[in-house]
């Protein structure tokens, strides 16, 4: 072996050894632990009421071999054209469900969300913060996002947004060609979720911010020569996004949702976060401390300002956008925290004047084998905790008590026995579950969770009936409703209970059903079931005994 080759091998070995030392150091272990801990809150059972109609839509797409032109689930807006902006995701849901049931879907979506968090951390690492700050920032971010984590389609946009921001930032800092991976990613993203335009928006925002920031002489601008390729990337991503079964109009789809007054005012996830709710307190604290850090450091890049401002505005407008705040503002938060740390340490040191410090002893690391063993034990322990956390979430089945207390599982089982299809006036958040369970039976619902498909007019119509505004009765009847299936103890059911022209026909622990009295003879309903005491519905009904219901 020549001396040059030997030197190269030696250099390679020492680099590997240095990396090993770094990974097995306390700070390296801390980061590894943070990565595992961040996986815990993003791994949950499926609670998103929209999940069920996504799953059913995916099954229907596979059955039909193409997109469904019109709404297949409702009897109110069946003539509305359905832009299936999440069609690929729905197909994936159906395939995963067929292979591994709900558990596989939970696993995949949790992994996707975690990958988004990993991309955020990688972006933050580009600015070389200390590992303590990096880990602390990531922990704060994952708690800040607590209200929105969980297996839902939105997490795809979260992960892709984080990845887009990471790749663009990497290019701005280091250059290279890795950012072009975004072109095929956008083809995928635009077919998975209609909010891919957020990624395009982020790129455009960074471009504009860098141009404006350059004119304002803001700190750490990207090299000017890197802006033009970024513009080309933006154009390419925009162009390939149109390679979509819905065609080029998909580009404008998300804007319609953001501009819909009915969606913004009626759907809970579009409401502003309430700081009386403990779940959003950490998000609020992160937002405020980021503002304080920026004022304290007086140093921030133009693109960071733009991303923080836009995602703060979006997240204050709608709680569901907290994910975008976490994706875009966490690296800025970590960067600002790292910038402030030396000054804060110095200030704390001044506050605690003590005896002159003795010179610090040189740190001696324990032997590598010991560190590797400790590292393996820690990771095994944390891995074990994660698996213990994950498995019960994966094992939850659609016919479980947990779902029967959230969705009309038992009522749907009852209605599935009806001899003829029914038109069901339902609760907005339960339309998806009823469609999943009953659409194959031919039943149709009044409304379900694709608000854009429903349209503002239908949302307003539904809201007027739900809130028992004058004319509610006529609204329900005008579409030819056969039965009202709604949660117990809601304004509508409490009024129906007293209405002379409605008859209660079913009640369990969650749901109650009414039929217009004049339709009692024509609507064919199944007999009220007698659930076995140990069954899921038996246990659910036990909570509120089925009183007053009569079979017709």
């Amino acid at each position: 072996m020549t001396s040059v080759a030997a030197e190269a091998v030696h250099e390679e070995r020492s680099r590997f050894r240095a990396r090993l030392d770094s990974w097995t150091s306390p700070s390296g272990l801390f980061i590894a632990a943070v990565l595992v801990i961040t996986a815990l809150p993003v791994t949950r059972t499926i609670q998103d009421p929209d999940f069920w109609w996504h799953l059913r839509a995916g099954q229907l797409i596979l059955q039909h071999g193409g997109l469904l032109g019109n709404d297949p689930f409702t009897y109110t807006v069946a003539n509305h054209h359905w832009t299936m902006h999440e069609w690929l995701n729905e197909v994936l849901f159906a395939v995963e469900f067929a292979i591994g049931g709900l558990g596989l879907i939970v696993l995949v979506l949790s992994a996707v969300t975690w990958l988004g968090l990993f991309a955020i951390m990688q972006k933050a690492r580009l600015r070389n913060p200390g590992r303590g700050v990096l880990g602390l920032g990531m922990l704060i971010a994952v708690v800040a996002g607590f209200p929105i984590w969980g297996p839902r389609v939105q997490m795809i946009t979260f992960a892709f947004s984080a990845l887009t921001l990471f790749l663009v930032e990497r290019y701005m800092v280091r250059g290279g060609k890795a950012m072009w991976v975004l072109v095929p990613l956008f083809v995928l993203w635009s077919n998975l979720h209609g909010e891919f335009v957020i990624g395009l928006g982020f790129m455009a925002l960074i471009l504009v911010a860098e141009v404006v920031g350059g004119r304002l002489h803001m700190p750490d601008p990207a090299q000017r020569s890197r802006l033009l390729p970024l513009l080309y990337l933006l154009i390419a991503c925009t162009a390939v996004s149109m390679i979509n079964l819905n065609g080029p109009t998909i580009l404008f789809y998300a804007a319609g949702t953001q501009a819909s007054a009915a969606q913004q005012s009626l759907i809970e996830e579009w409401f502003s976060p309430s700081f009386h709710d403990w779940e959003v307190l950490v998000y609020g604290a992160m937002m405020l401390s980021l503002a304080m850090l920026i004022v304290f450091n007086k140093r921030i890049r133009a693109r960071d300002v733009a991303l923080v401002l836009v995602t703060t505005a979006l997240s204050l407008q709608s709680a569901r956008h907290i994910e975008l705040f976490v994706a875009a503002s966490t690296p800025v938060f970590i960067d600002q925290l790292a910038l402030a740390t030396p000054r804060m340490r110095a200030a704390l040191g001044r506050l605690r004047p003590g005896p002159a410090r003795t010179p610090a002893r040189a740190r001696v690391q324990p032997p590598l084998l010991f560190r590797l063993t400790a590292c393996a034990m820690l990771m095994a322990g944390l891995g074990g905790v994660y698996i213990a956390w994950l498995v019960p979430k994966m094992q939850l089945q659609p016919y479980s008590l947990a779902y029967a207390q959230e969705f009309p599982v038992c009522a749907a089982q009852w209605l599935a026995g009806a001899p003829a299809p029914l038109r069901i006036f339902n609760q907005y958040g339960e339309g998806g579950y009823l469609s999943y369970e009953l659409s194959s039976h031919g039943d149709k619902v009044f409304i379900f969770g694709d608000a854009a498909l429903m349209g503002d007019q239908m949302l307003e119509t539904y809201a007027s009936a739900e809130t028992v505004a004058p004319g509610w009765d006529a609204t329900i009847r005008r579409f030819g409703t056969d039965i009202v299936l709604y949660d117990v103890n809601t304004p509508l059911t409490d009024v129906l209970d007293h209405a002379a022209d409605w008859t209660k026909v079913y009640q369990d622990g969650l749901s109650v059903a009414f039929v217009p009295t004049d339709k009692l003879s024509s609507v064919k309903l199944p007999p009220v079931p007698h659930w076995a005491p140990g069954s899921v519905c038996g246990r659910q009904v036990k909570a509120t005994p089925n009183t007053g219901a009569q079979n017709q």
Partner: protein
């Protein structure tokens, strides 16, 4: 005798002109702010405050809740009597228009004081002061009006003014603060914000100024004791804290909720906060007191939107000082490089003419709004005036259900006989009374039971209220419909009447106007 130095005379003249220009800008901005803050009785609480003001004038401060037939859980907190009595006096003397004008002037005084709290040494120019004042006025527009919150906005402005003077070395002014707190604590609970600002100033003043710190500590102590001189006595702090942290209060009062950022005014508030943070960042940053007080008020506003006025008035000097500094640092050098000329000032005559023209235009906009006819028209369309008259004529002395935001109006219209259900004073009514109200308002299963047990047979409701449709299902009939305020008077049916099979339609056919 020595002749005065010519340079000194020239400098004095320039100072006089700068001072005159500053005053002109402040005056112009104050007029704009007045137009923005003079508002009709849009805050529905004004009615029960008015009713109380009248009651106190004749019978003194009540010991118990005086208008509702519901048993209140807590003794009456007559802490705001000093706001309520003058308010009733104003309305009695000059109608709603006069009350609107006076409260608008109080808001203007707050904004002007906030602007004047900036020390001369900061050399903030008139235009920056005016810009800051107008921005504050636009933000205040959403919270101003005839409400005791304006008193607290004024109180905070006075505290800021005094504190900034004190920090500049003008120490005697702080001795006026205990008197301010004594008056303030009898008008609005927002005095607590003033005390906290004083505490922040005390804690964040450099330790080197020991004598001044001692003085401020003494003033703070006296002020904290002075606020006890009110009808609630020492219980005032406990009463205030229980109001802030009572979840029932947060649920039932919009002012105690987080701002809804779909509303334009919340977006405006957000924009103002962002602007101040940007200006702080690019102008060298605020001092510790302003940074901590600013973020404290921001947290308070995010927690309860009714604190927006306090934050807005605090932001006025921050916008002016840091906007001016940022401009001088980043924009002026470039402008001077480009033009090579010094900035020019408007001629005094032109300034005066512009000011007069602005005043005239604003007065043209303002005067019709404070007229008696405008107030009457606003009230008739916003509150169930005709419906209440009808109910008073036909169901005198009988209990009436209405929504909480109209409860105060009914208390004003029917102050005696305890016929009102509930109004927006949840801290006094307590959770049981609130639960009874919510049973009906949210139509929870026991709502019919509440109507029966509370012996309620009449209701005044907005036509679109869910209660109206629900009562119709029970067979309640519509006695009259008021198309101006879109309200209904409803009554329970005689026993044995079969319930209707058709739903409520608005406007109800065949029903007379109230």
């Amino acid at each position: 005798m020595r002749r005065p130095d010519l340079l000194v005379v020239a400098g004095a003249s320039a100072d006089r002109r700068a001072s005159a220009s500053r005053i002109a800008w402040i005056a112009a901005a104050a007029i704009v702010v007045l137009v923005l803050t003079v508002q009709p009785f849009s805050n529905s609480d004004v009615w029960w405050h008015l009713a109380l003001g009248r009651l106190i004038t004749t019978s003194g401060i009540p010991a118990h809740e005086p208008f509702s037939f519901l048993p209140a859980a807590h003794a009456w907190v007559g802490q705001q009597w000093l706001y309520e009595v003058p308010l009733a006096g104003l309305v009695g003397a000059g109608g709603a228009g006069l009350a609107s004008l006076v409260m608008g002037l109080a808001a203007v005084a707050a904004v002007v004081l906030a602007a004047l709290s900036i020390p001369w040494s900061s050399r903030v120019s008139g235009p920056w002061l005016a810009v800051a004042m107008v921005i504050t006025g636009v933000v205040l527009n959403s919270v101003a009006g005839v409400t005791s919150a304006v008193i607290s906005v004024l109180g905070v402005a006075i505290v800021l003014f005094v504190i900034n003077r004190w920090r500049d070395g003008q120490t005697p002014a702080v001795w006026g603060l205990p008197v301010l707190f004594l008056v303030w604590a009898n008008m609005d609970a927002g005095f607590a914000a003033g005390l906290l600002i004083l505490l922040a100033a005390l804690l964040l003043t450099p330790r080197a100024d020991a004598s001044r710190r001692r003085q401020l500590a003494l003033v703070l102590g006296i002020s904290a004791v002075a606020v006890l001189a009110n009808p609630v006595g020492p219980g005032i702090y406990a009463s205030m804290l229980s109001g802030i942290f009572d979840p029932g209060v947060a649920r039932s009062l919009a002012g105690f909720g987080t701002p809804d950022f779909h509303q334009w005014w919340a977006r405006l508030f957000e924009a103002e906060v962002v602007l101040v943070i940007v200006l702080w960042t690019v102008s060298g940053g605020p001092d510790r007191f302003n940074a901590i007080a600013g973020f404290g008020l921001l947290i308070a506003t995010l927690y309860a939107q009714e604190n927006l006025g306090l934050l807005a008035v605090f932001m006025t000097p921050q916008l002016a000082i840091h906007g001016s500094r940022a401009w001088a640092r980043h924009v002026t050098p470039r402008l001077q490089r480009r033009s090579g000329r010094a900035a020019r000032h408007l001629h005094p005559v032109a300034t005066t003419a512009a000011l007069l023209a602005l005043t005239a235009a604003m007065l043209v906009a303002l005067v019709p709004r404070v007229s008696a006819s405008a107030a009457a028209s606003y009230q008739a369309s916003t509150y169930p005036e005709a419906a209440a008259t009808f109910a008073g004529d036909h169901f005198a002395g009988q209990r009436i259900y209405t929504i909480d935001t109209w409860g105060g109006y009914l208390a004003y219209r029917f102050p005696s006989g305890r016929i009102v259900f509930l109004y927006d004073e949840p801290a006094v009514f307590g959770s049981n009374a609130l639960a009874l109200y919510q049973d009906i308002d949210q139509l929870v299963p026991s709502w019919v039971h509440v109507l029966t047990t509370e012996d309620i047979h009449h209701a005044i409701l907005p036509a679109e209220a869910r209660e109206a449709a629900a009562l119709n299902v029970l067979g309640w009939t519509v006695n009259c419909y008021d198309p101006t305020s879109k309200s209904l008077v409803m009554s329970s049916p005689p026993s044995g009447t079969p319930p209707p099979l058709t739903g409520l339609v608005i406007p109800p056919p065949g029903v007379p106007d109230c």
